[in-house]
């Protein structure tokens, strides 16, 4: 059976280059590479003592579908409470101004929309990481109460410091490469617009390629989720046919766990590209034996594992509170890689 190359893009080019230029950074090659090895445990130096607030925050993250955006370093972002208050006032005024085109809106005037910028505790596990920031928008609902229409979390979990070679004074920049959003799309766009204008950064959807989904499923399929024992490992492949648009492939949590344990060296903190290829290859071979369909030739568009599910369009759902850090660490890593790619 054909083996897929999980090592990303062609590497033929390097053989043409003399040794000196091969040794240099990949800025000078037209191809970017996915790393061959990824760390599984992270490099948390110390466990940050969790407060009650942090615990409840983390609970709020699970079992929700988040759409992910990658954000380049924020310019002149300030964590002080007064600045955060100013940001929420400005965002509120901007939202109002967009509603009433052509009418001026005084910053700070009261209206029906409520916005809030606040520090989101519980996500940071490394000292170098910037604190996560939560953006919330509420509008008055018809029943009288307040309805949350948008929630966004800017975060950075164990981001690599040298990933973004900030030549200039790094104090002006705040690295929060991941933005998780949930809520009405119109508000999402307005908030993105605000962040981009106010902090002179670029925020674009983070999409997961089938390769990256392959890595994710290998990374997370072997993890048992005690909170949700019935959840199975799922792979959805898109099929270019009108009658059959996708193939969903379900595997029991325990089976996937067993397969991964056979492939992966338990003592190692890292997983490598061979293990990913072997894991997916074994699943696909099984499917081929039974149904005669070679899944390796189809596009993987959605995965679900016990701790998390991801869709190729950049949607993510986390099921386990214990795994939040690991999952977001990987997402941060992907986002930083995508921003650095050029």
């Amino acid at each position: 059976m054909k083996q897929r190359n999980f090592d990303s893009t062609p590497q033929v080019r390097s053989e043409f280059l003399p040794v000196s230029s091969r040794a240099r950074s990949y800025r000078h090659t037209p191809y970017s590479k996915t790393p061959r090895v990824r760390n599984l445990t992270g490099r948390a130096e110390e466990t940050i003592e969790s407060t009650e607030q942090a615990a409840s925050n983390l609970k709020g993250l699970v079992n929700k579908t988040w759409r992910i955006y990658k954000v380049s370093p924020l310019f002149q972002f300030d964590y002080s409470p007064s600045s955060l208050r100013l940001y929420s006032r400005l965002l509120k005024a901007q939202l109002e101004a967009k509603e009433t085109q052509g009418y001026g809106v005084m910053v700070g005037s009261s209206n029906s929309i409520k916005t809030c910028f606040s520090v989101y505790e519980g996500l940071t596990s490394l000292k170098g990481d910037s604190e996560a920031v939560e953006i919330k928008i509420q509008v008055a609902s018809k029943t009288g109460g307040e309805k949350e229409v948008f929630c966004g979390i800017l975060c950075c979990v164990e981001g690599s410091e040298d990933a973004l070679d900030l030549l200039a004074d790094s104090k002006s920049f705040t690295q929060l490469p991941v933005l998780l959003t949930k809520g009405q799309v119109s508000f999402t766009y307005k908030v993105l617009d605000f962040i981009q204008t106010k902090f002179d950064c670029v925020a674009t959807p983070l999409v997961f390629t089938p390769l990256e989904l392959g890595w994710m499923i290998s990374m997370w399929a072997g993890i048992l989720n005690e909170e949700r024992p019935n959840r199975s490992v799922q792979l959805v492949y898109s099929v270019p046919l009108k009658q059959l648009q996708s193939i969903t492939y379900n595997i029991k949590q325990e089976s996937a766990h067993k397969i991964w344990n056979c492939i992966h060296d338990q003592s190692s903190d890292e997983m490598n590209v061979e293990e990913v290829t072997a894991f997916l290859g074994s699943l696909e071979r099984h499917f081929h034996t039974i149904f005669g369909i070679d899944l390796a030739h189809l596009c993987l568009k959605e995965i679900a594992t016990p701790p998390a599910a991801a869709h190729t369009s950049g949607k993510l759902k986390i099921f386990s509170t214990a795994m939040i850090h690991k999952i977001l660490r990987h997402i941060t890593c992907l986002s930083q890689e995508a921003l650095q790619r050029s």
Binding site: L17, S72, G102, Y103, M106, V107, F173, T197, C201, V202
Partner: protein, 683 residues
């Protein structure tokens, strides 16, 4: 009471002068007319009508001087005359050169007295807006900003007051209470474009106080009711006396026309109140320049792009880097079919920036590496080629692999025009490396080695990059050799060697010689044999002449290089000598196609079939019989008439020869004559 002598009344007495005065009434008569208006009691009386006519005519023809404008404003303000007359008088407030500020201030104060009707007030306000560029001391007008602000309350005057405020507003004028009042006004009268315009300006100055989202492509202010054309007309007549008028100002928001990513930009104007007067002032301002918050606004405006080069704020470059990465890599669909306009716009902006900075942008460089692998040679050709020609100095293998090879591939399957534009682009690249990149590289290397911060290079890079170790001279030589290789490929693809192609090829070689004479950079790249061969046997006289000139120039260059020590020249000298010998043999010495030891071109024996079918082939390309020169030689012989019995006299007879060479020179073929005079002993 003085009697006003109207032009008509005076015509009976002094017919000659009256004709003059009808064309251009004198200032004196205007003064008299003003006196009449000041003392008039009835609007409908004839003298008043005549005076108004006179003033109107004078104003329309050449404008009115300052003192008359002041008096007129007073007359209008006192409001003794009827509204219609006042309207006509306002329409006549056209300046000869400038409007004294006192006239404007008086206007505003008369408006406040209560004599003038609202409609007249609006007309006056419109007049101030229309002549704003011609007011002499705007500082004084600015000091009554608060008073003008009050006119916002009046519905009819408000549009023009808003426009005037828009022109006058500075950052310190934008205060919360004013913003609040405009917003309250908006809630009363709706989102009128003029209020939106004023608030948009307020937002530009104080984004922390007010937010507004104007509709796309909205025009903020009403037209000035023909005022602009009136003033323009008067100014065009007085132009010969006065300096050129102030350029027009566009009031719509410029950034709405072209949109790269997002519609809103905040910026902080930093220029002083009165503009910049001296160069030193400009220099000090550039040093203190506060870059805008949005990098996009910097990239979009050519004026603001100067900040990139002059500003010491390195964060700008980091922000630019991230923006470009997203623009160029994250949105590859911009470069797909159907999104052409956006892709074109992005590339055009980047080309402009590259040209202004005179160096390639690293992100664009990486983008080109990707893009050239799939480029079809058609899309955005001129932009892509311009960007290639600014490729920074890098190891040659890299350039060859990622740029030259894809371009070379395209060259093999494209039209003659494209081949020529590729050659042109590569010539530019080579020149750019020799003239800009090489000195920049050397200086950067020196700076890195000496590690002295005070050492300020003359040509420095905006992008603070590490200097790689490479043999820069060698890189340049390799590039030139590769271009020579491409030239030969192009010639092989076009066996007829069309003049257009030959022109571009010869241009490249001439450029290499130019580098030595103008920039003192040695780039020895002798044309390959096929290039010389094609020019020598070409049907085109230009190719032949230019090739001769090139060889002559090369000789000069090599001779002057010989005097310097340490340059390895022997190989080049041998090659050049071979060419000189071959060309002389062919066009002068009647020895073409005879293989000699030094010959480069004629080492290949001619097939027997050719040598048999043509009698005496070596004669065919003699200067006299050369196909490229046939017409010229024939003309020469015709002109010479009986003085030349046989064409061969051109070679044998000294007088005829010099006449012939002179004839060639006078027909722009000095290349050939120079060559012969340099290399052939004319005994």
């Amino acid at each position: 009471m003085k009697r006003v002598t109207s032009p008509k009344a005076s015509s009976s007495k002094r017919p000659r002068k009256s004709q003059d005065s009808q064309k251009a009434p004198t200032i004196d008569s205007v003064h008299e007319a003003l006196d009449c208006l000041e003392s008039a009691t009835k609007t409908r009386s004839l003298p008043v009508q005549l005076s108004v006519d006179l003033i109107e005519r004078t104003a329309r023809s050449e404008g009115l001087p300052g003192d008359i404008l002041i008096t007129l404003v007073d007359i209008i303000g006192r409001r003794k005359l009827s509204e219609a007359v006042c309207r006509r008088l306002i329409r006549s407030l056209l300046p000869f050169d400038i409007i004294p500020i006192i006239a404007v201030l008086k206007t505003i104060s008369w408006m406040g007295v209560g004599n003038t009707s609202i409609a007249l007030q609006a007309e006056l306000m419109r007049w101030i807006v229309a002549v704003y560029d011609h007011i002499d001391q705007k500082e004084d007008l600015h000091s009554i900003y608060g008073i003008i602000f009050h006119y916002l309350e009046c519905d009819i005057v408000s549009p023009f007051a808003c426009h005037l405020l828009y022109l006058l507003t500075r950052k310190e004028d934008v205060l919360p209470f004013r913003i609040r009042r405009v917003i309250t006004l908006q809630s009363k009268v709706g989102a009128q474009p003029y209020l939106t315009g004023l608030l948009t300006l307020y937002k530009t100055y104080r984004p922390d106080l007010v937010v507004i989202q104007p509709k796309q492509k909205q025009k903020f202010f009403r037209s000035l009711g023909g005022w602009d054309s009136l003033i323009k007309e008067v100014k065009s007549r007085t132009l010969h006396i006065l300096a050129p008028s102030v350029p027009e100002i566009q009031y719509t928001m410029a950034h709405q026309e072209e949109d790269l990513v997002r519609p809103e930009i905040q910026y902080q104007p930093v220029l002083g109140k009165n503009g910049i007067k001296t160069f030193q002032e400009l220099q000090s301002l550039l040093e203190n320049l506060k870059p805008p918050n949005g990098i996009l606004s910097v990239l979009r405006s050519p004026a603001r792009r100067i900040i990139l080069t002059s500003c010491t704020d390195r964060t700008l470059l980091v922000r630019m880097k991230f923006l470009l990465r997203v623009l160029l890599f994250d949105e590859p669909f911009h470069f797909a079919e159907g999104k052409k306009r956006r892709g074109k716009h992005i590339l055009r902006t980047l080309t402009d920036i590259t040209e202004e900075l005179q160096e390639g942008i690293p992100e664009v460089e990486s983008f080109l590496m990707h893009y050239l692998q799939v480029w079809n040679g058609l899309q955005w050709r001129s932009s892509v080629l311009t960007l290639i020609s600014r490729w920074p100095l890098r190891p040659f293998v890299e350039l060859k692999e990622f740029v030259l090879k894809p371009v070379h591939k395209l060259l093999c399957s494209s039209s003659l025009e494209f081949q020529c534009s590729i050659l042109e682009c590569l010539t530019q690249l080579c020149k750019n490396w020799a003239v800009v990149e090489l000195p920049r590289y050397k200086q950067a290397k020196m700076r890195q080695e000496t590690n002295v911060d005070e050492y300020v290079p003359v040509i420095s890079s905006v992008f603070d990059q590490e200097v790689e170790e490479l043999d820069e001279e060698e890189c340049l030589m390799e590039l030139a050799a590769y271009i020579g290789h491409i030239c030969v490929t192009a010639l092989m693809l076009n066996p007829t060697s069309p003049p257009l192609l030959m022109y571009h090829i010869l241009r490249f070689y001439h450029m290499t010689v130019d580098l030595y004479y103008t920039h003192d950079t040695t780039l020895l790249a002798l044309p390959a044999a096929p290039v010389v061969y094609s020019s020598l046997f070409s049907n085109n006289v230009f190719c032949l002449s230019e090739m001769c000139r090139l060889i002559t120039r090369y000789r000069g260059m090599i001779q002057s290089l010989k005097q310097r020590t340490g340059v390895q020249l022997q190989r080049h000298i041998d090659e050049l000598n071979g060419y000189i010998l071959d060309i002389s043999n062919t066009i002068w010495r009647n020895k073409a196609f005879k293989p000699e030891s030094e010959s480069v071109l004629f080492k290949v024996p001619i097939p027997a079939s050719i040598s048999h079918s043509i009698d005496n082939p070596s004669e065919t390309f003699l200067l006299l019989y050369h196909p490229a020169l046939t017409a010229i030689t024939q003309n020469f012989l015709k002109k010479a008439g009986d003085r030349v019995q046989h064409p061969k006299q051109v070679i044998s007879d000294r007088a005829v020869r010099s006449a012939y060479l002179q004839y060639l020179s006078s027909h722009y073929m000095s290349g050939i004559t120079d060559f012969l005079q340099t290399f052939i002993k004319m005994s």
